[in-house]
Symmetry: C2
Subunit: 144 residues, 2 copies
């Protein structure tokens, strides 16, 4: 069973009814044909940034929600990294730039003053040229 879909159904379930424990959630999922153990749900809950409330599991307020990790996204989607002055230009396959930029924004690195994403290009504004270059190195290391 597909992980992203399972996580989507977890979100759907906790929005529609109160689920207080991971075992309860496991049963709810099983009833819609998605088998998963408590171990897997523990991981899903962390990845989705869910929090446990007296009313059951709930989504965290946006800013504290689980931020996607930068490195896996860079490793999967970044085709090229170029520096120009204090700017960095990352290229991705078509349509993927935004996802990488979202992760970068959430990460709130000091080296990243801001980002703008198009369809296959991300512009990263760094504080200065030196930082941009070291940031470039950081990305290249992620790409090995």
């Amino acid at each position: 069973m597909n992980k992203t879909y399972r996580q989507g159904q977890i979100l759907k379930l906790i929005r529609s009814r109160r689920l207080h424990t991971q075992d309860e959630l496991a049963r709810a999922l099983r009833s819609i044909g998605i088998p998963a153990t408590q171990v897997t749900l523990s991981r899903d809950i962390r990845e989705l940034g869910l929090i446990k409330t007296p009313d059951g599991y709930a989504e965290a307020v946006p800013d504290s929600a689980a931020a996607p990790e930068v490195e896996p996204l860079v490793r999967e989607f970044v085709r090229d990294v170029r520096a120009a002055q204090n700017l960095l230009v990352l290229r991705t396959p078509p349509g993927h730039a935004n996802a990488v930029a979202v992760a970068l924004d959430n990460a709130e690195w000091p080296e990243v003053t801001g980002t703008i994403a198009g369809d296959d290009t991300i512009l990263i504004i760094a504080p200065d040229a030196k930082t941009a270059e070291s940031l470039r190195q950081k990305f290249l290391e992620m790409l090995q």
Copy 2:
């Protein structure tokens, strides 16, 4: 060595100089620290939709460029699929909707009249409700 990055560097290389054979390309890559065999490059070239011209390998004109496969993207990114009348709503993690929509647009399925993508939501317009429902099934099967 990372696949997406290697493919990005292949694009960069063929834009900057004429590379006539896959072995030539392999050598060019090796010189910038990216080891790859001819076998791997044969696959990369297909995935990138490159074409062989008298001036060496080149990118295909956009429309005939290699379209990303729908199924792997759906499997990796789609969290939920809902139908309403002749419309289908797909949900993805933040930032990934566009990539899936790009693949759907390129696929030019008869069941998909058009798509609109936001940040984490894709609206698919189908010709009619029946088609929308069968399309929903198609997606659910991809997700197993």
